[in-house]
């Protein structure tokens, strides 16, 4: 029986392997679409894609890895990781990847996803750090990107007041060096649309005092040197526990991948993304100070963007930090680097099979005084210059249960905690529960814990999700979340509550056909739109219905169609609807230098409230969640051409054609981004050279 199973599995897996090459991009796309459902528009996931692309070329050796490393493959659940190590501990090293099938929780889908990124082969090259080795075996990856909106927007005209001072071009240069899993370095330079090129009035950063670029980031890291597991100089991220106490950068939360609420903490990582906010800058290390005990001290000194005001004592004060990284107008340039932030502290982590415990303590200080805004809802915001945070987190695997949680406390202010469990109920059903309670005065500048609101403060909630895979063909996910805001919020003048429900069914009878139905409903409360002496709260309901099919024609052509309807209703007002329908066609022949894809979409939404988001294909390392708002057509085309063995070029052209016929003088966008006419189009070219 076991033998037969292996034969069957072998055939399946060989099939996957052959396809793996071409499906790599698809996998990354699917993954991001399934885990990044509630992603803010401007989030940069290139770090994740970078990671996966890297593992594609340098697979993880499953017999010689750590939980932390496997967590960087975000699609593995903590329970799977734990079961893998348990299996290796009991049965010795894996001899064949097919063995994965016999590990509890490893269903075919997970194995299929995992295979492209793992190996059992001990890498044969020497990984001693010498100049010769680094030159011979090192990988260099150089990328250049240029893009712009083709139409001229109002901000670039000769306006008397605020206007964009730079050019509408966007540039990105990224260089990345890796040598085995020992050395890593990167340099990123970026200029956003509207920013100055070359003659920036303010330097890119404290560490890179150059005025030639608006933003610059970089790092040098040495990894796996004896007790020093990681040493990073320059820009880095710290991600520990359940993202409640110390987590810089993005964390996945509620999404159709219902297990996403159990955070995959990957500890200290070098930073390689172009996001101008989500990182720490300075030095950090992870050192093994005793068996199973790691210590990660860190120090960061950064300049942040904030608009300053002056208080009664003549002192310059801050109320919020601006995270966009845009420095286009006089105002934005004035605010650039206006506030200094120093963060230092350390993390202790103790890990044995099945159990992980951590303690975090760090201090954040600013050179400017924070004052909370004057509105009542801002009353409990951070005030002062100094903040100390402490926290403790745990995860524990017991049989088919994975328990996880974290407690965070800001000294002299609030407390927050989150606890949950991931349970494999049977081989086809797993369940997740998560309880959270974040006090309204829990102050933390590195808090990305699972929450409904964009910040994990002033919220209590209970989340429960089920993941059911009754057969290879069917897959069902559902979750429900109830949340309460004990204090007021922006545009919510009273304590409020709400809930969210998601159900998704996937049917994939063959490798080339997949159909998905999804329903999502969310009810929250918000100030009424009526003009009344005191705002009362109205229920705001948003429901999404989505149907999608993906299919293939021959070996080279892939198709995807989606229809999505959004219903929005506030209080006793009428329901309004938004619609989106699109057709994607992709061309990926096995051995062609040219690949590409196009989309044609029709959208019609009653207002911004019934807007719809959809993932869009883009050039490598760039992420777009298209915003479909108004009425019109959206189209784009991406092309990739392999110029030479190590040289790839991408091109993208995308446009919105709005059908706002009733206007005599039609415009697109608003404010400084307003464009005359009905069209907004954008182009992008990218070159990547690997050597």
């Amino acid at each position: 029986m076991r033998f037969k199973l292996f034969i069957l599995a072998a055939f399946l897996l060989i099939g996957f392997a052959a396809k793996a090459q071409t499906q790599e991009d698809q996998l990354i796309k699917d993954l991001i679409e399934s885990i990044a459902e509630n992603l803010p528009e401007d989030y940069d996931l290139s770090e994740l894609q970078d990671r996966l692309t890297y593992y594609r070329r340098h697979p993880i050796n499953l017999n010689n890895t750590t939980a932390e490393e496997l967590k960087t493959l975000v699609f593995l659940s903590p329970l799977q990781i734990s079961n893998l190590f348990e299996h290796i501990r009991k049965n010795g090293k894996l001899i064949d990847l097919l063995e994965l099938q016999s590990i509890p929780e490893f269903d075919l889908t997970s194995i299929q996803r995992l295979l492209p990124f793992v190996t059992l082969d001990q890498s044969s090259i020497s990984d001693k750090i010498t100049l010769a080795n680094m030159a011979k075996y090192g990988n260099n990856d150089l990328m250049l990107r240029y893009g712009r909106v083709i139409e001229k927007s109002r901000g670039y005209t000769d306006l008397p007041g605020s206007r964009y001072l730079g050019t509408p071009d966007r540039y990105l240069l990224r260089y990345r060096y890796t040598y085995s899993n020992r050395v890593s370095a990167s340099l990123v330079m970026e200029k956003d649309a509207g920013e100055y090129l070359f003659k920036n009035p303010k330097p890119a950063s404290y560490f890179f005092p150059s005025n030639y670029t608006d933003f610059m980031s970089g790092h040098v890291a040495i990894l796996n040197t004896g007790r020093f597991k990681k040493i990073v100089l320059g820009d880095y991220t710290m991600q520990f526990g359940q993202a409640l106490t110390l987590w810089s950068g993005f964390a996945f939360g509620k999404s159709p991948d219902v297990t996403g609420v159990a955070k995959r903490d990957v500890g200290l990582r070098p930073y390689t993304s172009a996001n101008e906010f989500a990182f720490l800058r300075g030095a950090a290390a992870t050192v093994e100070i005793a068996k199973n005990l790691d210590f990660s001290p860190f120090f960061s000194h950064r300049k942040l963007d904030a608009s300053l005001s002056t208080n009664a004592d003549g002192e310059r004060t801050v109320s919020t930090i601006n995270e966009t990284g845009l420095h286009r107008t006089q105002n934005e340039i004035r605010n650039k680097n206006s506030t200094e932030q120093i963060v230092y502290g350390g993390v202790l982590q103790y890990r044995v099979t099945g159990l992980s415990i951590g303690a975090v303590a760090y201090h954040t200080s600013f050179n400017r005084l924070f004052v909370p805004g004057s509105s009542l809802y801002q009353q409990f915001n951070f005030a002062g210059k100094e903040l100390t945070n402490v926290g403790a987190h745990y995860s524990y695997t017991y049989k088919n249960f994975y328990f996880f949680g974290e407690f965070g406390k800001s000294l002299d202010a609030g407390l927050a905690y989150v606890n949950g469990a991931l349970v494999s109920l049977s081989s086809t059903v797993s369940a997740v529960v998560l309880h959270r309670n974040y006090q309204k005065n829990y102050h933390n500048f590195f808090n990305q814990a699972t929450a409904e609101a964009s910040e994990a403060i002033n919220e209590k909630g209970f989340y429960a999700g089920l993941n059911i895979n009754p057969s290879k063909v069917w897959s069902i996910q559902l979750y429900g979340d109830y949340f309460k805001y004990p204090w007021l919020r922006f545009r919510v003048d009273a304590p409020s509550d709400g809930y969210e429900f998601l159900g998704q069914v996937t049917y994939s009878p063959t490798k080339t056909f997949r159909a998905i139905l999804r329903f999502k409903s969310e009810v929250k409360q918000q100030n009424t739109a009526e003009v009344v002496p005191f705002n009362y709260l109205d229920d705001v309901k948003r429901e999404n219905y989505r149907a999608e099919v993906k299919w293939a024609l021959g070996k080279s052509f892939g198709f995807q169609n989606r229809v999505e309807v959004v219903q929005f209703k506030k209080g006793t007002g009428n329901s309004e609807f938004g619609y989106l329908a699109y057709q994607d066609v992709s061309y990926n022949p096995l051995s062609s230098r040219l690949t590409g894809n196009i989309r044609v979409a029709y959208f019609n939404t009653a207002s911004y409230d019934s807007r719809i988001y959809a993932y869009e294909d883009d050039v490598l390392y760039n992420f777009t969640f298209g915003l479909y708002n108004g009425k019109g057509l959206r189209g784009y085309a991406n092309l990739k051409y392999r110029l030479a063995k190590r040289l790839d070029v991408w091109g993208r052209y995308a446009l919105y054609n709005y059908d706002n016929v009733e206007d005599a003088d039609p415009t697109v966008g608003s404010g400084l981004d307003e464009i005359k006419g009905r069209m907004k189009s954008e182009m992008r070219v990218q070159l990547r050279y690997q050597f």
């Binding site: 109920l425 049977s426 059903v429 429960a464 059911i468 109830y482 509550d497 809930y499 429900f501 409903s521």
Partner: protein, 267 residues
């Protein structure tokens, strides 16, 4: 005055919370997604569901509404199997001393082979308001269960198809007329995933989802959700030989928490 206020509050919650009669702590913890689940308390849901009992079973259940000072619901059920036939009796009392609603019923169910079972139940309803009067009426429930496979079961039942109501014009309370359709997925003998779609003719569709996980021979964990209104449920069950104790907590955005406890004994 206070009494009128109380009464109007209770009749409000009668229609809000009491539209479904208490289905016991186990089914409640599973979000009342009970249309295709077998339980003693199926008597208050799909009467065909009592055909899962192998021996005579008696059950008591007590639910406490925390928003009121003494608002509670007490229920009793008894199921007697004989050959492939099953008979059951249930009594529910909901309210406070000044106001109470009682539903009592007698059910009969029959198994047709391993796959199919059918049940019917006749109910008598009574509302009693101290110093005000009584009202009485009758209703019927009927249901069917069908096992599609070892893993998938389907259930369908209706409450009060003839839309009986209280004769007295003073009483606002109505007897719900509703159709419930549900399915269970039983991937192993430890897990039941249940779902039910309910349509009460006076309300919106409700979707209910629940799970029961037998963590240990003696211990089960349960959870559930309902969509309209959005409610969350958790619970657990302890069984020791012939005695079963179930607890459940229901969380409603407005009403708050409603804990309940049930005891049953299989003879």
């Amino acid at each position: 005055m206070r009494k009128i206020l109380l009464l109007s509050i209770f009749s409000l919650f009668v229609s809000e919370a009491f539209a479904q009669y208490n289905q016991g702590a186990r089914l409640t913890a599973m979000g009342n997604a009970s249309a295709a689940v077998f339980d003693t308390w199926s008597l208050n849901a799909n009467p065909a569901g009592i055909t899962g009992q192998k021996t005579p079973t008696a059950a008591l259940n007590y639910a406490r509404y925390l928003f009121g000072s003494e608002l509670a619901e007490q229920s009793f059920a008894f199921v007697l199997p004989f050959n492939n036939n099953f008979a059951g009796v249930s009594i529910n009392r909901y309210g406070i001393s000044e106001f109470s609603e009682i539903k009592a019923g007698f059910g009969l169910a029959k198994k047709f082979g391993e796959e199919l079972s059918i049940g019917v139940k006749a109910n008598i309803h009574q509302i009693k308001i101290t110093n005000y009067g009584n009202a009485t009426t009758f209703s019927v429930d009927a249901g069917v269960n069908y096992a599609l496979s070892k893993q998938i079961g389907l259930g369908l039942y209706v409450n009060n198809p003839s839309s009986q109501e209280y004769k007295s014009t003073n009483v606002e309370t109505y007897i719900p007329t509703a159709v419930h359709f549900g399915a269970t997925y039983i991937p192993s003998n430890k897990v039941i995933i249940a779902t039910t779609i309910s349509k009460d003719f006076e309300r919106k569709f409700d979707v209910l989802v629940g799970a029961d996980y037998k963590f240990h021979e003696m211990l089960s964990f349960r959870g559930g959700l309902s969509a309209k209104p959005f409610k969350q449920y958790v619970g657990m069950g302890l069984n020791y030989q012939k005695l079963i104790m179930d607890v459940a907590v229901e969380s409603h955005p407005q009403i708050g928490y409603t804990p309940q406890i049930g005891l049953s004994y299989a003879f």
